[in-house]
Symmetry: C2
Subunit: 204 residues, 2 copies
């Protein structure tokens, strides 16, 4: 196993390769469906070589989930409590949708993990995630109290944003099957989702 003290150039490159290949394989086949041979093949490394850089299949998966969760939470962190409420929330929605469009594999990997009961990251959900959501729910509450956005439960408002934006990444196949190949799902999603939340947020 490589020493943490001095990660060489080779180590950095190969670890990155493995994670990239792992993302590909895990996001399409799930944790159990993925095989070390598949990841080895996709990364261009031999199987024992994989296990030289990561102690097990699970270690690769965990490394992916870990870096993923941060990327996933960042857009919410960027929400500015002092900005214009509707525009701040819409900007968050846009960031989330862009993320879903540009990183569908990450989105699906995360979705698969949650779907199966989040055995590996339940603690992160009940910890970091919950804290972050709670603190932003307070901001939303204040905006609602001030009459600047429509009143609703702030937690469920956040859920609705997650649900809608992730839907286009996670259920991509279904979306495309229904819309047909000639329509540009992502372009439409961008305008429709924005309009959707403008309606939801507009104070009565």
């Amino acid at each position: 196993m490589p020493d943490d003290a001095g990660p060489t150039r080779i180590q950095a490159r190969n670890r990155a390769r493995i994670l990239e290949a792992g993302l590909d394989v895990f996001s399409t086949d799930g944790f159990r469906g993925a095989t070390l041979d598949a990841i080895a093949g996709a990364s261009g490394l031999s199987k024992p070589n994989l296990l030289y850089y990561f102690s097990s299949k699970e270690a690769i998966y965990l490394a992916l989930l870990d870096s993923l969760l941060q990327t996933w939470l960042d857009p919410l962190r960027a929400l500015d409590p002092h900005g214009d409420p509707v525009e701040e929330i819409l900007a968050y929605v846009r960031r989330k949708l862009t993320l879903a469009r540009d990183f569908p594999r990450e989105s699906r990997l995360f979705a698969g993990e949650i779907l199966r009961g989040a055995p590996q990251i339940e603690h992160a959900l009940a910890g970091d995630l919950r804290d972050l959501v709670d603190s932003h729910a307070i901001i939303l509450s204040e905006w609602m109290r001030a009459g600047r956005i429509a009143r609703s439960d702030p937690h469920h408002l956040i859920f609705s944003i997650w649900a809608l934006t992730q839907h286009y990444a996670d259920f991509d196949v279904q979306v495309r099957a229904v819309l047909g190949d000639e329509r540009d799902a992502w372009a439409e999603a961008a305008t429709e989702v924005e309009q959707h939340f403008r309606r939801v947020l507009r104070p009565d």
Copy 2:
């Protein structure tokens, strides 16, 4: 293999047992993660006995998906073109949410299949599903043209309903982690989702 001509009582009972156990196992572990041994254990039958009733692991999975898809589409079929637009759509939303609450395993099985690219039911998506959605999109379009609900893209309106209702079933773990154990996620979801779509649908 049992003859299709005369399904005996034993056959009906055991097939039902297998499907029930299969639903349990497939919905938590996914197709690849599920094992025949696990299904055998959960159903109380021996592994070779499973394969006496279904020709393969895939056959069990397909039988589940097949019956599932119908259940999943029924609520949309029940939408009445001659009823009150807002109430009809809200009734659909409620049916969907109830379905998600009462049949989370089915919901997750379906979600997992789509997530992995729907290898087994892509044809059904591009066929039955698409046709059904298209025909109802027309109804929605007419309601919009008549000014009875807010204007938007009808397909994306349907997506938003699916996204929100399924979110509570498929991402149950995340929802509960964020809300905490003391809150009743489903009860809140019912009122919040209804309010959400009243806003989305209300004509300007």
